[in-house]
Structure formats: structure tokens, C-alpha cells
Amino acid sequence: MSAPKILILRAPGINCERETHDAFTRAGGAPSFVHVNELVQAPDRLFDYRVLAVPGGFAYGDDISSGRVLAQELRHRLGDRLLRFVDRGGLAIGICNGFQVLVRLGLLPCTQGRLEEEVTLTHNLSNHYECRWVTLRTQKSRCVFLPPDLTLRWPAAHGEGRLIPRDTRLAQVLRDEGYAALCYVDAEGQPTEQYPQNPNGAPMGFAGLCDRSGRVLGMMPHPDRSYLPTHMPDWRRRQLADGTLPRDGDGMVVFTEMVKVARAEG
């Protein structure tokens, strides 16, 4: 079976495209870079791919607010193609700034199946950017590729990552109806709002969301910076305890499972 084609979106200020590309390659995917300037010229090129990945960075400087200008560009230049892409069986992932873009676009969580902004990712309660490793727990969710009940350590690195739903009713829907795919957790594995385990103060520990179809996933922390064993902050201790390094870092599972599903669905 051939490697699924993956579109790695580039744009001015997106800066995690190389690691996202490398992680997908390692997972057996066939990623290629497409600049947003190329995509808006020929928007139907989107349908040549099985997976759309929006990497992290500072698209257009995160001017106005994070991800806003790129989301605005995609919404006006691609129209409803993004929804059709998912309807036709495409998969999508947004990491960090990419997550912010998908949220501003309304592709996440998309509980009503239309592009509207239901949640936001806004300024950390600390009011500044912060880079630290966090512990996440994958929840039982709609996501068709992210396995539940995994405890994972990924680095978070953002200034606008506090996920706020439009109202409390939506917050409950996200938690109870399988949208909240990833949560920051405490030492007991429970979702937490406590700093620093939760680096931005997001209610209910929300760290990542999927959409209604389960085919789109976004998260603030970075699996693309934790896919190799030597990315992990404690690899020396793991090596000492086990006598050897694990094959992968904790972030690899996202790429492996995504490629696996894309391939199985052909």
C-alpha cells in the first residue's frame, strides 16, 4: 500500500513545518510542503491529499490574535473546501499555532457541522509565552486515530493557549460528548486547572480538541517536538532504568496512528 499523501501547510511565520514533515516521514507518510500562496492560487489541490497538517509557529506574526490572519485568509480563499475535504474522508491536524488557526476557522470543534468560532484560544493567565513539558492524558473521544487512555509527555510552548468555550453548556458538551481529546493532567492522571501542570489555565484541563467527525484534531502541546526518544527530557533516566532507549518519543503515536488510519482508509 502506498504512503498516504500529507499536505504540510506553510505560511509566513509558520515555523514547525520541518519537524512536522520529519515526524510524518518517520511514521511512513508521504508529506510535502505547500505554501499558502500556492494553495490559494489552486485551492482544489487540497483534494490531492489524504491529510492536512497545519504546523506550529506564529503565522503572520500572530498579529491581531494568534492564528487570526491565516484563518481569515483560508476562510476567504478556500471557502467551504475545508469542510468538504473532511466530509470526503480527509484527516486534519493542527498543532499549537495550527490548532489556533483551525479554531479561528471554526473547523474545531465544529459541533454543528458549520464553520463558526465556538471556542477560543486566548492569552495564558501568566500573560506571557512559556515553554515547558506537560503531562497529557488522551481521553475517550470521537477522534478516529488518537487512542484513548495514554499518558504522554509533550512540550507546550505558547502564549495564547487558554481554551475557552463559548459558554458552560458547550464546555460540558466538549467534555462529555468526546470532543476533548487531550487534557493536561495532574500526578493522579486527572484533568487539572492547576499551574504549572496546566500551563495556561484552560478550564477542565482542555489541551486538545477533535471535531464532530473525529477526523480533525488540534492541540496546544507539541507531538512534533517529542517524536524521537532523545527529545524526551528524561531520556537519560529511561536509558538508565531500562538499559536502553525506547524506540520512539511520546509524540510519535499521533503520527503513526494518523498514517495508519489514512492508509487503511486508502
Binding site: 519537524e19 491581531i64 485568509e73 468560532e117 515553554c131
Partner: protein
């Protein structure tokens, strides 16, 4: 120009972190506010009807979940606020770069609206019982920087700045022939040229022979090119020192070491923007460290940010384009708790400087997507007028593309940002001393960065490099186009036409366009046949491209504007006409003695005080604001250990995901030693950088180093003597360590004049060390890993407390500054590295500021595990007291955690090197030191953590963490 004003604010029931931060900042400035709410303001030119303004505000400017907006029509009256409520508006001064404005415009176009003029501002609604005047004063300090921003009280911003004035296009010949020495000096001084009498006379003679006056542009070009910043004329001049004449100090010392060692891993040294060494069979790595001190003193945020941007461009412009992969930053400040009355007029408070610098590095480095992996921060009262901001960058490039050569016929092409009046006279400004008025007169030298424009330039350059679309490249740094084109044209010639240069606003005179230091620009030499493809690549990356002219064979630098010639300079004179400077240098040791300090009764308290000194204290508050993970190449992080808060000695990078090959990067600097002996300072910097490399698992025999000088006024013989002495000591040690210098930089005249007092910084050489290793899985960290391991000290401890942190906590300097025994130091480095390579150690940490005591506690904190150390076992040539063993800062010492069954491997690798087992990892929660058979100092990990984390915990979140 009238404009719509849209203000976006956080909904009432939502927290407003920016408002809370402003409230805290105002509090620090003495304004107690009960509430502060923030507003983001946008100015939109009047062409748009109100309905479209509202639609744009709703759909784009406002976050529908947590924000709301208000619209003020053009000409709307100022807000009327209830008593006790105040409105403060902060807006950029005219001509200051406003990067967000461009994105706002782009978003309008994407929505199908016309591309009208836009601008941005900030506003704050403040509830406080304060007088408007006091509030405005406080806001000027706490919420704005007067140099680049205006503060309005109770008013809306008046509108958009105008389109700029009419340019003065005249050539302006500047007659010199009639001037005497004093007249020439006055001309140079009034013009901010930073040229001395001899240099002015040389220029006078040159144009005398030509029988004409230089034009303003020619004189400015000469001033930029001959500036200390660009030509390093002190270090390359002639110096008389201790009865000898040294011709070209740099060549006969630093470069001499590199030439003599002739290490085979050096690919390109001292000729390019950065030094290049081999990484593997295909690729090389390059490294450059710069200083950006003056701009950072005046405007810390912009200064530090554009410093980072500049050094990234240096690396991008190395060889035929290198990909930047890591930043390293080292700062020197006055202590952040300095009393306001001790801050001289014209200086910002050191805490303000520190917060601004950190934010500047953060807000440039992070958006660039380049991890800041390593650095250090140093404190000394004498940095109050001249903070030091060292910014470094590493890049990777194919070895086959390590050399460049422009050819006659190549087009001169500029990429990137637009040109404005920013940074005019930056190069010459950085060669003058600062004084009380500098803040006011030199605001033109301040630059504001726009990292996303630079990111576009970087993406475009790397894409063009991959297709081999240019034959030479350099960055536009100090001196702007004049330096960049002037340098590339050396040995050739150039014809430049400035009409096509895209400007930020109208009104720039041709000479201003030519020397502007507007950021984010690169200059390329492009074969004409490749221009079209380069245009396509740049269009794809949204990067602006301008053809400036052509390289020629004329040997002349010809510049025109609108067909009128403004410059016709002889390149030979421009680059080699600078008269050799001759200076006297003397050094006499300062009259110092060691203090008599009675044996302390409570060593625990002494240790906690040392841990809480700014020099030793945790830098976590700074580190976490930098992205150190982007690019996914970090195999050794700046914070390590069980709770990821222990200090790392060096960064470990794994730049190619398919390979275990790596880079170890470290720094060494101790300004305080310079107050006693600059030679000690220099040696210790190199030794510390190398210890850090080795402690992290680097290879001392495959390490290149950089020397970065920051000095006081070297026109004084004593200051120059200090510099010569330091350089000689540094070079002697580098010869023994076999470490070639591959790049360096100097920033001289770091003095601040206030009233009749001159504050000079202690002379500093920052040594940055970069090692290449075959396998990152053999590197290690400083945190203790396992109960029952042995703690081993490699190296010997002497009574060397001069300049130590411990004596500083007693208000003492002393005389017995640490010196390096080169032969012993080399054995320690090589032996320890071999032992680590043989996997004899689980952890390693160098002993530096705070001595053995601080180093042991840091290792224990990192591992959250107790340790017991017997001070009597510490190798020492003479009997020392407990506090001397704890706090001596003797060099060439590394602590290792060694499993008992690996002691044999350690011994085998440290045959001729003093070392001893000095303790054991106990598994408890205390660090205990034993002396004379009895515990003399026991400190719990919790107390140590609080003492160590609190001093630089500016958000108050780290210590709370310690309570977990």
C-alpha cells in the same frame, strides 16, 4: 490624518491578563491601581464606510468568544470617564515600525476590502486614586518607552501619521579643505560621525588630491565603514605595551592561535559573517556571537530583539546561506534590586532593562522558530549605564557551500524589509560613549524588529540557496546598504541606483536610504540569468525583492539617486585608507588585599545566601519564556532533572533527525574577576566554557571557541592595557587547550557619563564554545540520578576566594582571584571527557560561581535527592577551612556522579589528574557537608530550592511550585 479607531477589549466577566500585567507594572512604578483593563486599538483610514469598519472589527479584529469592540468615528470626541477612572493611550511615535499594521491591511484585502492605511495602539482603563500627571508619568515608565512611544492621558489617538515629508534630494558637498584640526573634529562630532582628527585629516587629504569636496553620502559611507563597530580599529591597530610594539593585536594574538593550531575541522575562520567548522561528511556548522549593548540600554525590548535578528541574519548570510538552528544569549545587568536613587539620570532601572531585554529576545527568537537553547546572566553595579546583551546564533550549511564570491556583472539585489529612518547612525552611535542625554539625542539609532518579515527573508534565502540562485550574500547590519554593498564590492566595484528602494514612508534623503539600518534586509549578488527564478521564489515566500544595481570591475563605489550621482568612492581607500591607530597601553595591578573574615558560625546560612545571590540563583523565569524546543533538535535542555528545573551546563543539539551526531554548546564569563585581574577573567571564561562542554559530554578536542569583548574606554592606556593583558592570557590558554578561535567581536567604549562621574563596565570576554560529537546518547546532565552513587571531585581546590560570590555577599572583593594552570586544566578536561565517554559517570556539573557548595546543591536539587560530602576528602594542595572548601572558585574542577562499580573506569581515564571520591548520594532530602569528621552544614532540599529560586522569580510562580 483622520481615522476610524476600533478598540477591542476583553469582556467584563473574563480575566484580562494584559490588564493585570499592566496593573503590576504600574504598582512597581508606585501607582496603586484597583483595576486595570486593557484595550487593543486599531486605526483605519477614513476611506471605509462605517458598516465595513464594523464588519471588519467583528469578523477579524475581535475574538467573538471573549472580546467585544467599540468604534470611534473620525473626529469623535475623547471619552468621558467617571471620577477615579483614567484612560491612558500608548501609541508608536511617527516613523517607528508598526509590524501589526501590515497584517491588519492584509486581512482587509483577504476579506475583499481596499488596502487602506492602518495603524495600531494600546490603551488602558485604570481605576486609581491618582492625579492625572502622576499617572501619566508612571505610565511613561511602566507601560511605554518614551523613546519610541507617546503616552496620551484621557484622549483618543488623533489619527494616522502623515505620509512623510518631502525628501532633500541635493548632493550636499561638504568642503573640508579650509578646515583645521579643530574644525574637522567639530564637523565629525556635530555630524555624529565618530571619526577622530587623524581619520578626518586622512579623508581631507584624500579629497584634497582629488581636488573636490566629499559629498555627504561619501562622508557618511566612510564614517560607517571606518567605525569601530565595522573595522575594529582598536584591536587591529598598533599598541605599545610593556616595552613592546604589537602590530595588529587581533592578528598577532587571537588569529595567531587559530593559524598556529591549524585544526583540520576549521572550514572558514575570520573571513565570513560567522566561523564555520565541519559537522559531518556533508555539512558544516557555523557560529557567530554579536553584542547589541547601546540600543538595548536605550530601548531594551527593541535593542535586544533587533540584536537577535541581526545575528540570525549574520548566520543566514554565512557562506552561501546557512540555516539558523539555535540561539544563545548572555546578558550583564546591574542587580535588579538596585535602589531607584542609585540609578543615574538617563538610565533605565536594571530590572526594567532585564525584563525588556528578555521580552525582546523572546518576541524575536520565538517567532523566528529558532530555539534559544543556552545562555547566562551576570550582575554587577557597573553595568547600570551599559547593560551587555550578547546574542549568538548557530547555523548549518552544506560544506560545499561554505565559500562565496560575487562577480562583476552580478546584480546587486536587496531582499526583505522596507527602508525607513530607523537606526540611522547605529554603527557610529555604538562607537561613542553613552551619557545622560543619549536617551534623547539618539532615538534615531533605535530599531524595532519585525520577526515575521525576517522569517520571510530567511525562507526565501534558503529556498534560493537550495536552487543555487546567488553567488554571494551578506546581511544589512550596521551601516545598512553602505556597509553591505561596500563589503561585497571589495576587489570589484559597484554601481547602485537608489530610486527603486522601497521606503516605509516618503521623505528620506538619498544618504539616509544608503546608511539606514532598517532591519530584516539581506543583500545578494545574483547572476543576471537567475534573477527571474529568484523573483518567483521571493513572490512565493511573500518577500520583497529590489534590484539595486550591478557589481563592476571599476574599483569604485558609485551611487546614484534619480540619475544624480551622490557617491564615487575609491574602494581601495574605503577599505584600506583607514590610518593605523597607535595607542599606549599600560597595566598596573589594582591595590587589593584579601579581607579577614572570621570563620562563620552558621555555614548553612552562608550557603543559602550564596544560593540566593543573583549570580547563582535559578534563571528559570527567563529560560521558560524562550522556546527551547522548536525545530525538535534538543537532546540536552537548558533545564534538567526530575522536576526539569536543574541548571544545565551546556545545550546538546541533534540537528539531523536521522543521525545521532550532535553539537554541545556552552558559554563562560565572569565579569567580577576582571575587577581584580583581567587576565584571570579571560582564562576563567575559556576554562568555564570548556568545563561546561565537557560536563555535558562534549569533546574538548573537537571544540571551536569565540571571543566576544565588551570593554570600557580603550582610549585610556590602563583600559587598553587590561584588554591586552586579558587577550594574552586567553591566547596562552587556548594554545594549550588546542581550541581555535573561529569568530569574535568587540564592543568598546562601554562607559556612561553622568555629571562628573564616569561609570565603566568591568572588561569582559565572553567565551562561547561549540563542540561536535558523534553520538548524543553519550551526553549527560547535572542532576544526580541514583542512590548510593559516589560523588567525585576532579581537579584541585585552592584558597581562591577573590571575586567569589561568597565574598561578594560579604561586600568584599579580595585579591586571590582564581587562575588557571593550563597543563592541569587540559588534563582535567581531556581525562574527564574520556571517563564520560567510557560511561563512567551518570551526572556531571562544573564548579563555578558559588564554588563546590553551590554546585553540589544544584546537582542534588536537579535529582531531588540528598547527598553527603566529606570536605576533608576534597583534593587540595594545602589545608583549607570548611568555608574555603565550600566557596572557593578555583577553576578546572568538575563534579561527577559515579556508580561504585565504575570507579575503575574513572581511575583508568584520570591517571595523571588529581581527583577523589568526596561523597555519596544518600537518597535522603538533605545536603550535608562534613568537615573534621563532623557535619558542618546541613541544608534541606526544600530550603535550598526556595533560596535559589526566589530572587529572580519575577512572576511569583516558581517558589509556589517549590511548595508542592
Amino acid at each position: 490624518m483622520e481615522a476610524w479607531r476600533v478598540e477591542v477589549l476583553v469582556q467584563k466577566q473574563q480575566p484580562d491578563p494584559a490588564g493585570t500585567a499592566a496593573q503590576r507594572a504600574l504598582g512597581a512604578a508606585g501607582i496603586e491601581a484597583t483595576e486595570v483593563r486593557s484595550r487593543r486599538g486599531y486605526l483605519l483610514a477614513t476611506g471605509l464606510p462605517e458598516a465595513q469598519v464594523r464588519e471588519f472589527a467583528r469578523a477579524v479584529l475581535t475574538d467573538p468568544v471573549v472580546e467585544q469592540f467599540v468604534v470611534h468615528a473620525p473626529g469623535a470626541s475623547d471619552p468621558v470617564l467617571p471620577r477615579g477612572q483614567h484612560r491612558i493611550t500608548v501609541l508608536p511615535r511617527p516613523g517607528v515600525t508598526d509590524p501589526v499594521a501590515h497584517s491588519v491591511q492584509k486581512a482587509m484585502v483577504d476579506m475583499g476590502l481596499p488596502a487602506i492605511a492602518t495603524g495600531t495602539y494600546k490603551a488602558f482603563d485604570i481605576t486609581a486614586a491618582a492625579e492625572p500627571q502622576d499617572l501619566t508619568q508612571g505610565a511613561r515608565r511602566a507601560l511605554a518607552n518614551d523613546v519610541i512611544q507617546e503616552v496620551l492621558y484621557g484622549r483618543l489617538p488623533p489619527g494616522l501619521p502623515g505620509a512623510g515629508g518631502k525628501a532633500d534630494l541635493a548632493v550636499h558637498p561638504i568642503p573640508l579643505a579650509h578646515l583645521d584640526r579643530v574644525g574637522l573634529e567639530t564637523l565629525a562630532k556635530n555630524g555624529g560621525l565618530a571619526l577622530d582628527a587623524l581619520e578626518m585629516e586622512t579623508i581631507q587629504a584624500h579629497f584634497g588630491k582629488l581636488g573636490r569636496a566629499p559629498t555627504r553620502m561619501e562622508l557618511e559611507t566612510l564614517a560607517q565603514t571606518w567605525s569601530e563597530h565595522c573595522k575594529h580599529k582598536t584591536l587591529t591597530g598598533r599598541v605599545r605595551f610593556e616595552g613592546k610594539v604589537i602590530d595588529n593585536l587581533l592578528k598577532s594574538t587571537i588569529a595567531h592561535v587559530t593559524r598556529t593550531l591549524n585544526r583540520d575541522f576549521c572550514v572558514s575562520v575570520f573571513v565570513d559573517n560567522a566561523g564555520i567548522i565541519k559537522f559531518d561528511d556533508v555539512d558544516s556548522v557555523c557560529i557567530k556571537v554579536e553584542t547589541h549593548n547601546r540600543p538595548s540600554a536605550i530601548e531594551p525590548f527593541g535593542g535586544a530583539g533587533t540584536g537577535v535578528g541581526g545575528v540570525i541574519r549574520d548566520v543566514l548570510g554565512t557562506g552561501l546561506g546557512a540555516r539558523p538552528i539555535a540561539n544563545t544569549d548572555v546578558f550583564c545587568f546591574a542587580p535588579p534590586d538596585l535602589k531607584q536613587e542609585q540609578v543615574p539620570q538617563g538610565c533605565l532601572h536594571p530590572k526594567t532593562v532585564m525584563q525588556g531585554v528578555v521580552a525582546g529576545v523572546r518576541d524575536y527568537g520565538n517567532p523566528m522558530g529558532i530555539p534559544t537553547v543556552n545562555g547566562s546572566i551576570h550582575f554587577d553595579e557597573n553595568f547600570v549605564g551599559n547593560p551587555l546583551v550578547y546574542v549568538g546564533n548557530i547555523g548549518i550549511l552544506p560544506t560545499a557551500r561554505a565559500h562565496k564570491q560575487a562577480h562583476a556583472g552580478d546584480l546587486i539585489v536587496a531582499l526583505g524589509g522596507r527602508t525607513g529612518r530607523d537606526g540611522i547612525h547605529g554603527a557610529t552611535f555604538s562607537s561613542l560613549e553613552l551619557h545622560t542625554e543619549s536617551e534623547k539625542i539618539s532615538s534615531g539609532a533605535v530599531q524595532i524588529g519585525d520577526p515575521i518579515t525576517e522569517r520571510k527573508v530567511m525562507d526565501a534565502v534558503l529556498a534560493a540557496a537550495a536552487e543555487d540562485l546567488f553567488s554571494a550574500i551578506t546581511d544589512c547590519g550596521a551601516g545598512g546598504f553602505s556597509s553591505a554593498v561596500g563589503e561585497m564590492a571589495e576587489g570589484l566595484g559597484a554601481e547602485v541606483e537608489l530610486d527603486a528602494v522601497p521606503l516605509k514612508y516618503a521623505g528620506l534623503a538619498p544618504w539616509e536610504i544608503w546608511i539606514s539600518e532598517a532591519q530584516e534586509r539581506m543583500v545578494l549578488a545574483v547572476p543576471p540569468g537567475k534573477l527571474e527564478r529568484l523573483r518567483q521564489v521571493c513572490a512565493q515566500e511573500s518577500c520583497e525583492l529590489t534590484v539595486l544595481g550591478t557589481f563592476t570591475q571599476s574599483g569604485r563605489l558609485v551611487v546614484r539617486h534619480g540619475g544624480t550621482q551622490h557617491s564615487d568612492l575609491d574602494l581601495q581607500f574605503l577599505h584600506h585608507g583607514l590610518p593605523v591607530r597607535e595607542r599606549d597601553a599600560v597595566w598596573s595591578a589594582p591595590q587589593l588585599a584579601d579581607p579577614q573574615i572570621p570563620p562563620p558560625t552558621d555555614l548553612r546560612r552562608e550557603l543559602l545566601t550564596v544560593l540566593a545571590d543573583f549570580a547563582v540563583a535559578s534563571k528559570e523565569w527567563v529560560i521558560r519564556q524562550y522556546d527551547h524546543e522548536v525545530q525538535a533538535a534538543s537532546a540536552g535542555k537548558p533545564l534538567c532533572g526530575l522536576a526539569e528545573d536543574g541548571p544545565a551546563d551546556a545545550a546538546v543539539l541533534q540537528p539531523k533527525p536521522g543521525s545521532l551526531r550532535g553539537i554541545v554548546l556552552a558559554n563562560g564569563l565572569n565579569p567580577r574577576y576582571s575587577r581584580i585581574d583581567p587576565a584571570a577573567m579571560a582564562e576563567c571564561a575559556l576554562d568555564e566554557a570548556m568545563r561546561n562542554v565537557v560536563a555535558a559530554g562534549g569533546d574538548p578536542d573537537y571544540t571551536a571557541v569565540l571571543d566576544n569583548y565588551c570593554w570600557g574606554n580603550t582610549r585610556q592606556a590602563q583600559k587598553l592595557g587590561e584588554l591586552v593583558r586579558a587577550t594574552q592570557a586567553l591566547c596562552a590558554l587556548a594554545m594549550t587547550y588546542r581550541t581555535p578561535f573561529v569568530s569574535g567581536k568587540d564592543s568598546l567604549h562601554n562607559e556612561f557619563r553622568t555629571g562628573d562621574r564616569t561609570i565603566s563596565i568591568p572588561g569582559c570576554i565572553l567565551v562561547t564554545a561549540m563542540s561536535v560529537i558523534p553520538d548524543v546518547t553519550r551526553t549527560l546532565t547535572s542532576d544526580l540520578k541514583r542512590k548510593s552513587s559516589l560523588l567525585v571531585m576532579v581537579g584541585t581546590t585552592k584558597r581562591e576566594l577573590g571575586g567569589s560570590v561568597w565574598w561578594k555577599t560579604k561586600g568584599q572583593l579580595g585579591a586571590s582571584v582564581p587562575r588557571v594552570d593550563p597543563a592541569l586544566g587540559h588534563r582535567v578536561l581531556i581525562g574527564t571527557a574520556r571517563a564520560i565517554a567510557a560511561r563512567a559517570a551518570l551526572a556531571a556539573h562544573d564548579c563555578s560561581e558559588g564554588g563546590l557548595g553551590a554546585a553540589v546543591v544544584e546537582m542534588a536539587l536537579g535529582g531531588r535527592i540528598g547527598v553527603r560530602v566529606d570536605l576533608d576528602k576534597v583534593p587540595a594542595p594545602e589545608r583549607l577551612r570548611a568555608e574555603e572548601l565550600l566557596f572557593s572558585e578555583s577553576q578546572s574542577r568538575i563534579l561527577l556522579e559515579v556508580p561504585p562499580d565504575r570507579l575503575g573506569d574513572l581511575q583508568a581515564n584520570l591517571r595523571d589528574t588529581p581527583f577523589a571520591v568526596i561523597g555519596e548520594v544518600t537518597g535522603g532530602t538533605d545536603v550535608t557537608f562534613v568537615h573534621g569528621g563532623k557535619p558542618c552544614c546541613t541544608v534541606s532540599l526544600g530550603d535550598a530550592e526556595r533560596a535559589w529560586k526566589r530572587p529572580l522569580d519575577f512572576d511569583g510562580t516558581l517558589v509556589q511550585e517549590a511548595g508542592r
